[in-house]
């Protein structure tokens, strides 16, 4: 079955980001297809590569990046939500004349249309949030 995943909350702050990860990993284990994980609202903060969590804690951003690498899962940060919150890839940083970017590997920035699109394409869209 084809799944779409929407993540509305940031890492560590809300369990939504953990639950979404565990659900996505379990769906892949069961042989389902993940069409896309779309990060919206504070969810875009999952895509930072600057996080330095305590050594005895999980690294949430790395965990998503590995999922993308190992299973070729598309991880999309909403561009408008990401700009508001200061989550930029190199292109966005350049366009906004910012001197740094902070997006983690495996993530991409795209428009809200990708959320509607996954709603159309997927057999099930599941929302994780606050």
């Amino acid at each position: 079955m084809k799944f779409g995943i929407l993540v509305n909350e940031g890492p560590y702050t809300h369990e939504a980001s953990d639950t979404a990860y565990h659900f996505t990993a379990a769906a892949l284990r069961a042989g389902h297809e993940i069409v896309r994980v779309f990060f919206y609202h504070d969810g875009v903060n999952n895509g930072t590569r600057l996080s330095v969590p305590p050594q005895d804690d999980r690294n949430i951003s790395n965990r998503w990046s590995e999922l993308a690498r190992e299973h070729d899962v598309e991880l999309i940060l909403c561009v408008a939500a990401a700009q508001r919150r200061g989550l930029l890839d190199a292109d966005e940083a350049k366009r906004a004349s910012k001197d740094a970017d902070n997006m983690a590997p495996g993530f991409q920035i795209s428009g809200l249309g990708q959320l509607i699109d996954v709603g159309i394409q997927a057999d099930r869209l599941i929302v994780f949030g606050d």
Binding site: H22, R124, I126, V127, G129
Partner: protein
């Protein structure tokens, strides 16, 4: 064509569970996750609400979230089924659409 309703908030501080029950048709199912799992315990102010819900809906709760919170399955209201993440995924394939009451 029926709905799996997902509730992730404590019923003691939020209205999510009440709204879910008010707006869910008899044959739909309810899955409690994250802080939503606090609703499963016996002898609480929402136990009657949940018992009534069990007469109309299949009710599930996410076991890893129960364990994280130290909720003893023996003190759970009878009739609630526990699932792990694999069971969670399976449920979402068995119901036609998913409604997260954020």
């Amino acid at each position: 064509m029926t709905v799996l309703h997902i509730v992730n908030k404590s019923p003691f501080d939020h209205g999510s569970l009440d709204t879910c029950l008010r707006l869910s048709r008899v044959d739909s199912a309810i899955l409690l996750i994250e802080d939503g799992v606090y609703a499963v315990q016996n002898n609480t102010a929402v136990t009657d609400t949940l018992r009534q819900a069990l007469g109309q809906h299949q009710v599930y709760a996410l076991r890893p979230d129960l364990e994280a919170r130290g909720i003893n399955p023996e003190k759970m209201i009878e009739g609630i089924a526990l699932v792990d993440y694999d069971g969670f995924v399976k449920l979402t394939t068995e119901y036609d659409k998913l409604q997260s009451w954020l």
